[in-house]
Symmetry: C2
Subunit: 222 residues, 2 copies
């Protein structure tokens, strides 16, 4: 399922799009998480959330460096994704610390699963840098404990956060779809990889399955 011809312009455009969307996703995640860390009720949580934000920035930096070393202009690669991400973040603005925390875990989790799925269709070099940009090394694990502790004492949080998780999944998938429709290159990557509609369906099933597992881990119904 691998394209080897990096010189094929359609394939090259798809790789540029994929690196651009991932890089811009991480840059905006960095900003959102830094903003949301300011809502943390304790210094220790503020620090953990800031650490999570920082990881996004470091991964963004890895991608920018890779693009530059491959003669890809990072700003041009990211530009098509400014509006979709602004829209996603506008539609999923957390009302308070807990929602921001769940978004950092659940929203980011869906996005990263999606990029991992896409990375199957690219060359080794691109797949390797994507893997580095997607490796979270467990920095977000603290979220599980915080959410579970909250659920023990806050009786309304469970229903509210379960709804919030569903909303995040819906918005993330609808933005992913909007991007895929607008950027032919991404669909071409799937088609060129010999992926049929049934397989795309299976991919979405895997994304929602992983989402459910993350919600369960947080103690929430999916």
């Amino acid at each position: 399922m691998e394209h080897t011809s990096i010189d094929d312009p359609t394939y090259h455009a798809a790789v540029v799009d994929l690196l651009g969307v991932l890089a811009y996703g991480e840059l905006t995640a960095f900003i959102r998480m830094a903003v949301d860390s300011d809502l943390a009720p304790t210094l220790s949580l503020k620090s953990s959330m800031a650490g999570l934000a920082n990881t996004e920035y470091v991964q963004y930096g890895v991608l920018v460096e890779h693009m530059r070393s491959h003669d890809i202009d990072p700003d041009a690669a990211m530009a098509p994704f400014v509006v979709p991400f602004a829209s996603y973040h506008e539609r999923t603005k957390p009302r308070g610390w807990l929602e921001g925390l769940v978004k950092a875990y659940v929203g980011d989790g869906i996005a990263k699963d999606f990029y991992r799925e896409m990375s199957v269709f690219v060359d080794d070099d691109t797949r390797e840098v994507m893997a580095r940009a997607l490796d979270d090394a467990g920095e977000s694990d603290f979220v599980v404990g915080v959410v579970r502790d909250t659920l023990k004492t806050d009786r309304t949080a469970s229903g509210r956060l379960a709804l919030w998780g569903r909303r995040l999944l819906g918005e993330a998938l609808s933005q992913a779809q909007a991007v895929a429709v607008e950027r032919d290159s991404m669909s071409a990557l799937l088609v060129g990889g010999g992926v049929d509609l049934a397989e795309v369906g299976q991919m979405f099933t895997r994304l929602t399955d992983n989402h459910s597992k993350r919600m369960t881990r947080l103690g929430l119904s999916a």
Copy 2:
């Protein structure tokens, strides 16, 4: 002018305060700069501002690691400075991208000069970690070009930003004074270092001189 007795409780309290105020200052600078990067008019500027924010986080991390390895609880050390920094940032909330940019350069510059002045009075080990946490390696240099370019085309920016710079100096110094009054340990550090009032006056003169140089570098009157 150096204390060597790290076992002296007054001296120890001063070092804890100094590391705490510097660490929390960098954590909040990280958050503020990340927030303000979202106002950037181009992707390239957003990326540069995010990079500046990231440097603050990395330096914060250096201090936290140092405190932990010296049996200092970082959260406890930072706690006294939560309110003063919230007040400073509340009183110097940028109205737009340019003010955020100037704040990152000018406000941060004043703060770091102040910590550099204080680092003269501590032991080698503490001074070394403070130097690492204060070394900006020129990441903020991009600000100079952006502000100077703006001044060429925006006729009202010059007066507005000159005022803004004076405001930042005033707020930074008044917060520094409030902290110094409330935290006896800091004054004790100066007194213990044999610093008299005349020397404190000279220190403030150096701070304002450096501020004027930074403003001049930006093409603004101080």
